[in-house]
């Protein structure tokens, strides 16, 4: 039989789990230690945020919370590569990307604390809120990218999805459309090996998730998602490509969910502890810290100071969160429509009256 098409999936890594460079030439941003330090600081803050958020949940001060432990390089790498005018379409754990884009930590706490005001955040006004219905955000990213393309704007859309999310039809539909329209969009697959209790091997027969891009007719690349240099580099490449009218890219970031799925989950029910211990050695902060230390840009004292700063910053955010009162009952009606219909106004009045009566 004759061969009519052939494809390859490439893999990118700069920094291995021991903090050693695996490539000779670094991307430009990575030659500047200040840039690396900035990313390291953000990753460290995200980890403090994560730890304290889980503690808040455990003490009944937050609702269900989705940890990002282990994903810091992927998330911060995405954030650092994007421009403010690009549009971000997250799933539900990319705090690192959002913080970089200006979302305030207490706003994220508000969301998981059951308050919609957390979605009216300080990041770019066009960025989407969390997409809990898995894969639906891919369509929004494709639509935004189509808007940018039709208006001739040099902007790109970035969506993030999990390994489990790649089983959803919405994901493939938007991939195919992005290819067909050559949209300025980057689809990031955050492959943390688990979708709640379902391991990757049960989710799909694919050896890589980057190869899903072949079904969209465009480039898919696999990257070490625990290596922030590789993530940011690939994202900058894909975003530049998108903004220059050269179409979509799928980036599969290989990482690992070191935490439970959410605080409502108990991963010991289905996951081998040894696997987690192995994965912990690959986590993204250790290697960047080693690399920075080896180059003389970091030391234990600086580390201690940073952690203190992060802690203080987080405490201030927690205070902001806790000081935010319960949203008024009227607010669940007020933003339903620009032109409010009569019956909804009547329902609002009834609800407000009940609040006043019964509290």
């Amino acid at each position: 039989m004759k061969t009519v098409a052939s494809f390859e999936i490439k893999y990118l890594q700069y920094l291995d789990s021991d903090g050693r460079l695996t490539q000779k030439k670094l991307p430009k941003f990575a030659e500047n230690p200040d840039e690396l330090l900035k990313m390291y600081r953000m990753m460290s803050f995200v980890r403090v945020f994560d730890t304290k958020s889980i503690a808040l949940q455990r003490t009944g001060q937050l609702g269900t919370y989705a940890s990002c432990l282990g994903h810091e390089a992927t998330h911060v790498g995405i954030g650092a590569a994007m421009r403010p005018e690009d549009a971000f379409f997250p799933m539900y754990r990319e705090y690192g990307a959002q913080f970089w884009r200006g979302v305030k930590p207490h706003e994220v706490l508000l969301f998981w604390g059951g308050d919609e005001r957390g979605n009216n955040f300080s990041g770019p006004a066009h960025d989407f809120a969390w997409a809990v219905p898995i894969a639906t955000q891919c369509h929004h990213a494709a639509g935004a990218a189509l808007a940018f393309k039709l208006r001739g704007e040099k902007r790109a859309a970035v969506s993030v999805i999990g390994d489990g999310g790649t089983s959803q039809g919405d994901f493939y539909e938007s991939l195919n459309a992005a290819g067909a329209y050559q949209l300025p969009v980057v689809f990031v697959v955050s492959n943390n090996k688990w979708a709640i209790s379902v391991p990757l091997a049960a989710q799909t027969a694919c050896e890589t998730l980057a190869q899903k891009a072949i079904a969209g007719g465009f480039e898919g690349i696999q990257v070490d998602g625990n290596d922030i240099i590789a993530v940011r580099d690939i994202m900058e490449y894909a975003l530049h490509k998108a903004r220059s009218g050269k179409g979509p890219t799928l980036v599969e970031a290989l990482t690992y969910r070191l935490s439970d799925h959410t605080t409502a989950d108990d991963a010991t029910r289905y996951r081998d502890k040894r696997e987690v211990e192995e994965a912990r050695k690959q986590e993204p902060l250790i290697r960047l810290r080693k690399y920075l230390t080896d180059m003389g840009a970091w030391d234990q004292k600086k580390e201690a100071k940073l952690l203190e700063e992060c802690s203080a910053q987080m405490d201030a955010e927690v205070k902001l969160y806790k000081d935010t009162g319960k949203p008024p009952v009227a607010s669940m009606f007020d933003h339903m429509f620009a032109n409010m219909p009569e019956n909804l106004l009547a329902q609002r009045d009834a609800a407000v009256a009940e609040e006043q009566q019964h509290g």
Partner: protein, 325 residues
């Protein structure tokens, strides 16, 4: 002023908005060079270009979801779903996102999109091409559902739907697409949303209907007029939210209500109208409210479709029953 069929009125409204608002984009399957399978977008791509009128890949969830993304970025997508039975893959995007993006971001983002789709039976179409599914959308918070019953209302309501800053599902009765041409002035004048239209005044009984069934309803009313029954006919037009003020005023006058729709009866929009009127006007009712509707079965293939859809005879019999109660 031109005489337009309803499908031409739809085209005219789309063209008007494409011309006057650069944010408007028309998209859907075969809406480009083919002008849509019903020709609702006929000539629009030729006139406004491929950047304003876009064929999409064959995927309805994509069409809805991409429209949400476009709308949130400031465009005004008017998306077409090709036939009524293929609108279900949009349900997830419509209920989980279109209808709630404004409130869940507390006003930061909103979704000025229109999802146009043909609706209903009666044109001998193939399987899955003849459904009436307005009730599914009517139950969704944050979404307006609109159904015109004449060329001029199609024109005016579609303009209103496109200009409205929130999502509108706009269902077009295919059975009316090419019958009963009407003078329609292409002047960009929108009609109000959230408002019924009283098509015929009368004192004996209020008939509420929408979409294609307006025609059987008007015929029944005309037939009964000869027999001395004076029907008031109300075109619901905006299916959700319902303009109960107009309906209650009418029922206050007539004391009788018949609701007529093509969709299945169980949990149809007729139930909401009957329930609310019974709640708010029970003491002015001289007879039980009657619903004349499709049966609780899928629209059959076309050999039986006229046995499914309420006929003038069935509507007439229902009105008589209420008059005699």
């Amino acid at each position: 002023m031109a005489k337009l069929a309803m499908v031409e009125a739809v085209t005219a409204a789309l063209a008007y908005e494409l011309e006057h608002d650069p944010a408007v984009v028309v998209l859907g399957e075969d809406v480009g060079v083919n002008g849509g399978v019903f020709r609702a977008t006929n000539g629009l791509q030729q006139r406004f270009g491929k950047d304003r009128v876009l064929d999409t890949p064959l995927a309805e969830a994509l069409i809805a979801g991409m429209s949400i993304g476009m709308a949130a970025m400031g465009m005004k997508p008017v998306a077409e779903i090709q036939f009524s039975g293929f609108i279900y893959p949009t349900v997830d995007q419509m209920i989980n996102h279109a209808g709630r993006l404004r409130t869940r971001t507390r006003g930061r983002l909103h979704v000025p999109m229109v999802l146009r789709a043909p609706s209903g039976g009666g044109i001998h179409a193939p399987e899955h091409h003849s459904e009436s599914n307005e009730a599914l959308f009517a139950h969704m918070p944050g979404i307006r559902t609109v159904m015109p019953s004449s060329p001029s209302r199609a024109y005016g309501l579609l303009l209103a739907a496109i200009r409205d800053p929130d999502p509108v599902v706009f269902l077009e009765p295919t059975r009316l697409y090419r019958i009963n041409k009407q003078e329609v002035e292409d002047n960009g004048q929108a009609l109000p949303l959230d408002t019924c239209f009283v098509l015929r005044e009368g004192n004996d009984v209020t008939l509420v209907s929408w979409g294609a069934m307006i025609h059987e309803t008007m015929q029944a009313a005309a037939g009964l007029a000869d027999q001395g029954v004076d029907c008031e006919v109300i075109d619901l037009a905006t299916i959700s939210p319902i303009d109960f003020e107009t309906i209650l005023e009418s029922v206050g006058k007539t004391g009788r209500l018949v609701v007529i729709h093509e969709a299945p009866k169980n949990c149809g929009v007729g139930a909401e109208i009957a329930a609310t009127v019974a709640e708010k006007a029970i003491y002015s009712l001289k007879a039980p409210i009657e619903r004349i509707t499709g049966y609780d079965i899928p629209m059959p293939l076309f050999k039986l479709e006229h046995d499914y859809m309420p006929s003038v005879a069935r509507v007439t019999a229902g009105i008589r029953k209420v008059m005699e109660a």
